[in-house]
Amino acid sequence: MTVIDTSQPPAGPARRVAEARPSLLLGEHSLCPGCGEPIALRLLLEVLQELDVVQRSIGVVGHGCYGSFVRIMDVDVLQCLHGRAPACATGIKRVRPDCVVFTLQGDGDMANEGLHEVLHAAARGEKITCIMLNNGVFGDTGGQLTATTVLGQRTKTSLAGRDAREHGYPIPVAELVAGLRGAAYVARGAVSTPGAVVQTKRMLTRAFETQLAGAGFSLVEILTMCPTGWFVPAREGPGYLGDSMERVYPLGELTT
């Protein structure tokens, strides 16, 4: 089997149908092989571009592996305290109502430390878009149990697997938020398969459109692979995500 030269664009007539890097990307990330978070970043940056809102976009980024995206996204960013992004975003949006304001958080950031902030922002119907990268662990600190860790999952602080009697049940953040009247758009996507990636991008687009329409709060929860925190080889990430997380966290839109 001959390997095709892929170091150059094709010589013959061809049309580029997908670019490797979103134009708002400023440099390399240093996340683990097979991590799902950079995929979500790409979608976010593409959507901002496609909606033509870049030059009025402000991001608020929490603490997790995605925190390092602050260095590589060409967007005005407040790197805020762990869990508090929706509160900071509220302050920003209220004094700059014409801006498009979003948060980028993890499950640890949003479902653990910051559950209070996201629920209150949602209940208030703040016109912001919150994005939660849910990998079911604190990736950045080495893979401990979060509020979204699924039952049975082994983490560094649930060595024998998450046990409901000991550690309780996972919290479905998107469902909780969808139960609040201020939440205008809530959806859950994933980045584990090409189809899910396409669907998730559509969700992000709708979420931002909701904000632009002034309709209320929007949330997109995105299931992302964390092979490191799951202690599985990178290539097994998507499968693990589908077998464990997706069963507990079904994909789709939760608002109508």
Binding site: V70, D74, L78, R96
Partner: protein, 359 residues
């Protein structure tokens, strides 16, 4: 000049708005509640936003967000509520957001809380401690000026008497001089230009324009606070020239001390007073000078002895320093106790005058 009879809280709120405060978020807690209620009534009419935060932590982070976006923004609370804000106040110091915090305290027991951080890392908070409502009205504006000037959080240290007493005051915008432009504020206009902005305690910068990183950034912050300490210390003093005894007090307590000192001077005592107007920076050099010729330095504060540390650090002769304050709380826990009273203070000072200075 037309005076309006305003409750302290209301006067402070109106003054903050006159200074351009356009965002406020707070959570009720006595005696801060009055300020929140006034803001919620007055701010919308001034084109601003006042939010009922769902907690102190949410409130201070909302205000931080608004300040990061360039607005004059504030929050407030007292005691436990301020304790909850410590992480964020430290963050504002370290990521250089000009946040104003109205600590309408229940008492003077939170001097350390205001002046020694208690958040995390090496930072300080400029702390204004007005002695009465007219000064509180001034400080409500000065706080925003200093915050913008230094891109640093400023704490306004009030108390129940400042919050709840009504006096005739005049509110008008005060001019403290020019300020640098807020070209660092996040407004989205630079997104996508390759020069997007960033507010980040770790100061890593963007890949295309690396920042100093935490080591250099935090050193620079520490140096900035050293520089602020050089220029922003404020104090007031009286009868220092001939005082054998100097009484040091802050906030409303200083007003009481001033009153008693006047009485005692009328009785022929060679006594004076010294008041740190800024708790941080503490006016140490001024105190050193003021105490150079005194035999006794009496420290009066309604707590177990907190400003005492700063007096001990700076007084010309440490052995001349005596503590005559103490914990004193109303039965409700929400206001000053019986020590905040001129006759009681007078007795304590006289008792100290009676004792010889120990070394």
């Amino acid at each position: 000049m037309t005076l309006e009879l305003l409750e302290g809280s209301e006067a402070i709120a109106a003054s903050a708005i006159a200074a351009g405060c356009r965002f406020f978020a707070g959570y009720p807690m006595s005696p801060f509640t009055g300020l929140l209620e006034s803001m919620s009534r007055l701010l919308p009419a001034a084109g601003g936003v006042c939010l009922n935060a769902a907690s102190e932590i949410e409130g201070v982070n909302m205000a931080l967000g608004a300040a990061a976006a360039g607005a004059r923004a504030a929050t407030g609370s007292c005691g436990q509520g301020i304790a909850l804000m410590q992480e964020t106040i430290a963050e504002a110091a370290l990521n250089e957001t000009p946040l104003v915090v109205f600590n309408m305290a229940r008492n003077q027991q939170d001097y350390f809380q205001a002046t020694r951080g208690g958040g995390w890392g090496d930072y300080r908070t400029i702390t204004l401690a007005p002695k009465n409502i007219p000064e509180a009205v001034e400080h409500a504006q000065l706080a925003f000026h200093l915050a913008d000037k230094h891109r640093a959080p400023v704490i306004f240290y009030g108390d129940p008497l400042l919050a709840q007493t009504r006096v005739g005051v005049e509110i008008r915008p005060l001019d403290f001089g020019p300020l640098p432009p807020k070209d660092w504020a996040l407004d989205g206009t630079r997104s996508g230009t390759g020069k997007s902005r960033q507010i980040w305690t770790w100061a890593m910068g963007k890949a295309t324009q690396p920042g100093p990183g935490p080591d250099r950034h935090w050193k620079a912050i520490a140096a900035k606070f050293d520089a602020i300490a050089e220029v922003e210390a404020r104090h007031e003093q009286r009868y220092v020239e001939d005082a054998e005894t100097l009484v040091v007090a802050f906030g409303t307590a200083a007003t009481f001390v001033e009153y008693v000192v006047e009485e005692l001077r009328a009785d022929g005592h060679r006594i004076g007073w010294f008041r740190p107007v800024t708790l941080w920076p503490f006016p140490g050099a001024a105190l050193a000078q003021a105490t150079a010729g005194t035999r006794r330095v009496l420290v009066f504060e309604l707590n177990a002895g907190q400003m005492l540390d700063d007096v001990l650090i700076h007084a010309a002769d440490r052995s001349a320093v005596h503590f005559i304050g103490g914990v004193s709380i109303a039965e409700s826990g929400l206001a000053f106790g019986e020590l905040m009273d001129a006759p009681v203070i007078r007795d304590r000072i006289l008792a100290a005058l009676g004792r010889e200075t120990r070394s």
